[in-house]
Structures are given as C-alpha cells and as structure tokens.
C-alpha cells in the first residue's frame, strides 16, 4: 500500500459489481485519477478469479452482502500472510439498505455521485482510516509479543532459581558446570547438594524430553521431586554404625544410606510421574549420584541418561551406563544401583545429549569422540575441563543454531 493516500498511477483497483451492472461512473472517475482498474462481476467471484488479482484497493458493491465480503476479506488476509492486504471499500449501487448493513458491519464506504473530486477526497480518508487500522493492529500484535517475551523472561528467571545458586566449596574436590538453554527456558537441569550432614554430595544431571516451555514446566516437577525426596531421606548422618569390618566392594555408611535414598528418590519420582502425568508424555533421563566425600565412593542410578564419563588419573575412561529406564516413561520401571569410585586425580563428567548432539553448520554432531578427547585430558581441574569442553563445543558449532539445551558438570578430585 503506497503512502500517497490519493493513490498513484500504479495503484490498482478491483471493482466487484453486482451482476448485470457496470459501474460506469465509478470506473471513469477512477481511471481519470490514474488508477488501473479491473472489473469483476459478483457472479465471477470464484476463488480462482480473486486469487489472480492482487489489487491495492477493492471496491465491492454493497449488494454482495456481509457474508461474501467477509469471505473476500478472509481470502486476502490469508494470502501472502496478509502482507498485501488491500483496503476493501464498499459502494452503493441502488440498494441503500445493503450499504447500511455493510457500514454497520465495519466496512468503509463510498456513495454516488462518483465525481472525480469527491471520490479522491473520500478515497483519501478511506486510505487514512485503513492505515490507522493496520497500525493499531500491528501495535496490538507487538504489545502482545512484548507481553509474551516478558512472561518468558520471568519464566527464565524462575527457572534459573531452580538451579543451585552456588556450588558447594569442598576440600579436595572441585565442581564446575555449564548450562546453556537452547531457548529462553530449558528442559535440562543439574543439581548439587550436600547430604548426610555434609558427608555426602548429591549430583543430579537430567534432561526432560523436548525443550522449551513444556519441558521447563516438567523440569520444575522432576527437580523438586528428586531433591525433596533426597533431602528428606538424607537430612541425618548415616545411621548405620560401623559395627563390623567392611568387606571389599561393600558400600560404606554413606553409600549404603545413599542407596536407599537414591531408590526412594528415583523410583518414587517415577511412580509419581506415571501416576499423575503419564498421558502428558513428558519423561526425563536422569543421572543421580551420591558421592561419599571422604572415600570417593559413588553410588548412582542412571535412568536412561547419556552415560557419564569417569576418567581415572591413570588414563582411559569408564562409562556409567544406564541402570534403569528414563524416569516417568514406564509404569513398571525398576531401577538398580551402579557403583564406582573417584580417587585423587580422577575426573567425572555428567552431561546431556545437547553436548554430544551439538551440530556444526554442515549438520555434523560433536559426538562422543570429541567429548572423550577433552574429558580425557589428565591433571586438569573441573574448572579447566569445563572451559575446554565449552570451548570445544562452541568451536564445533560455529554459527550453527543451538538446537538443544547444553548442560555439563565436571567433578574432579585433587
């Protein structure tokens, strides 16, 4: 729609007139004002005929009636996503009742006599009104987008509050994390919290399937259920006294109490999700480990999560494979415990698939080999490893759009 309200030479007008009538006077007046004019009889108003025309202005006979005018408006609004929406103006032929209906129905109008000077003035004000309406519509859309963005940014703030504010400072250990959502809000989360009066440490990295706002709402449920159950069960120091010497491979007090806590938290969360939310189809892959900070023993449940990588000081690596299915996916899931140990010089990486599946511009994934090449560097702190891994992932993806949430947690023992 050109800015000149009176229309320019290239402005085109489609006149849709009543069957058997020719809008001679209107046609002549428009032509003399420099418009390109096409005339269509109402009876020819088949979808194909209108599809071909892309007028700047449509002048439709009021005799078409509100319903057909509405369809016409709908047609133009849908085409090109409304980019070239013409101004639809009705005109009276001889039926002033029909004109009144259309005007009450919200259409702008012109009425005879169609003399060039009168017409130009009327069209100018019709054009002004049309542009004003378009502007108001656009402002309303922008306001609602701003409102939506504001809501999303609130959601993001709230969600960031579900992550630990600060990671615990532990003697002999270092923890570092990276959390980069693909959208404003994420389905990934991590959690680190002390258990058993500081003798144990809970480590959680989880990925709620899908991403965006739906995943984020379920992230809040999973995180809360896991942490709440864990904190309830792990508030006290492990009660079991060391009455007898431990057999080799048998978990220590933290490990043993940790085992019960893990099963309660993970199986309990699974039961809750399946009972209340199965139909919604959100599940999470969850790695939940409990570390005995003095012995380095790690007991864990891996619920369908990408296997964390344990890198011993001596080199090589161990993958902590799933010990059960994703949480919240199946009604009759059983979870077993895995066990490992972090000795001085060892590193543990827990991550989500957003890391290994990060793609470069050609679509190639970061992959397990690149991940192991970084994680396998010995003698680094968690902070250094996290920095190196984040750099490697960013280097790999370049300018490609981040498709999935990226979360990683490194833990090193010194």
């Amino acid at each position: 729609m050109p800015d000149d309200p009176a229309g320019q030479a290239e402005d085109s007008v489609l006149i849709i007139c009543q069957e058997g009538r020719t809008p001679g006077e209107l046609h002549r007046a428009l032509r003399s004002d420099g418009f390109q004019v096409e005339v269509l009889a109402a009876g020819e108003l088949s979808p194909g005929a209108v599809l071909n025309a892309a007028p700047d202005i449509v002048m439709a006979s009021a005799s078409l009636g509100l319903q057909r005018l509405g369809m016409l408006e709908e047609h133009f609004a849908q085409r090109d996503a409304g980019e070239r929406m013409p101004n639809i103006i009705v005109f009276a032929e001889d039926d002033s009742t029909a004109l009144v209906d259309c005007v009450v129905g919200g259409f702008d109008y012109i009425s005879p006599p169609f003399l060039p000077d009168l017409l130009r003035s009327r069209m100018s004000s019709c054009g002004d009104r049309f542009r004003l309406q378009a502007l108001v519509g656009k402002m309303a859309a922008e306001a609602s987008l701003r409102d939506y963005e504001q809501q999303l940014s609130i959601a993001r703030e709230i969600q960031l509050g579900f992550l630990p504010d600060v990671l615990p400072a532990l003697e002999g250990w270092q923890i570092a994390t990276v959390f980069r959502p693909a959208k404003e809000v994420a389905g990934d989360f991590y959690d680190v919290f002390e258990l058993f009066s500081g003798q144990g440490l809970g480590l959680v990295v989880a990925d709620v399937c899908d991403k965006g706002i739906g995943a984020a709402l379920f992230m809040a449920i999973f995180r809360t259920l896991l942490r709440h159950t864990a904190e309830q069960a792990g508030a006290q120091p492990p009660w079991r006294a060391e009455a007898r010497p431990r057999k080799s491979g048998e978990p220590g007090p933290t490990g043993s109490a940790g085992a019960g806590l893990l099963l309660a938290a993970v199986a309990g969360t699974n039961r809750y999700m399946v009972r209340n939310h199965l139909r919604q189809g959100y599940f999470a892959t969850v790695f939940f480990g409990i570390l005995d900070l003095s012995s380095g023993e790690l007991v864990y449940i891996n619920g369908g999560h990408n296997p964390p990588v344990l890198v011993p000081a001596a080199g090589g690596y161990q993958l902590l494979q799933p010990t059960g299915p994703a949480v919240g996916m199946l009604a009759d899931s059983t979870f077993t415990l895995g066990q490992s140990r972090l000795s001085p010089g060892d590193a543990l990486l827990i991550y989500t698939d957003g890391v290994t599946e990060a793609r470069d511009e050609q679509g190639e994934m970061f992959g397990m080999n690149r991940l192991l090449a970084v994680a396998g560097q010995l003698g680094r702190t968690a902070e250094q490893l996290t920095g190196l891994m984040d750099q490697a992932v960013r280097g790999h993806t370049g300018y490609a759009e981040q498709a999935d949430d990226i979360t990683m947690l490194f833990m090193t023992r010194h």
Partner: protein, 106 residues
C-alpha cells in the same frame, strides 16, 4: 534433512516409513500420522526406520506417545534401526516396550 512419515495399511498392519530426522521440529508431523493410525483398526504397528537418520529426545517422546495412543495389545515393531537411533532407544530403556527387528520387510 527433511522428515517424512508415510503410512501404509494392509489388512491388520499399519506400516509407517520414517525418513530424515525426528526431533522437536518434525515431532508434530509424526504425531499427526500416529493419531490417524491410532484411529483405525489395526492390530500391529510397524515403524520402518531404515531411512531415519536421527532421533532426538523429543522424537523419542513421539514413540512413547505412539505406544500410549495405540490400543493395549497392539505390538509396535521397529525395523531397520541405524546405530545411533538404536542407541537412543536402548539408553532410555524404551527398547523394552517395543519389538526391534533388523529389516522393515523381514
């Protein structure tokens, strides 16, 4: 890679051939096909995955959704899985809910 999910029906079996990448972008398209299939009276659902190059967690969610939508007792058979797709299904434990076979025409 463009995703496609083309259903075919025989007397008792619905076969959906998947190709491309099933992720959050293509998930709605697949869910629509599943809704269509679930509304028919079939007693077996075969998902031909020979051409499926990638399955994200959102894609896996679709498979879980498919399993919920199909009437109980209708087996879901996945055929011709590429290694990465098979690994995603195995890791999350969903392999216990479906039958996995080598080839779609086997």
């Amino acid at each position: 890679m463009t995703f496609s999910a083309d259903p075919e029906f025989s007397s008792i079996t619905a076969t959906i051939r998947l190709s491309g990448e099933l992720d959050s972008g293509s998930a709605p398209q697949f869910e629509q096909v599943i809704n269509d299939v679930a509304s028919r009276d079939v007693s077996r659902l075969v998902l031909g995955m020979e051409e499926l190059a990638y399955l994200s967690s959102a894609g896996l969610r679709c498979l879980v959704f498919a399993q919920q939508k199909m009437p109980a007792g209708v087996p879901i058979i996945l055929t011709g899985l590429q290694p990465d797709v098979a690994e995603t299904i195995r890791l999350t434990g969903f392999d216990r809910r479906v039958q996995i076979q080598g080839r779609a025409d086997a």
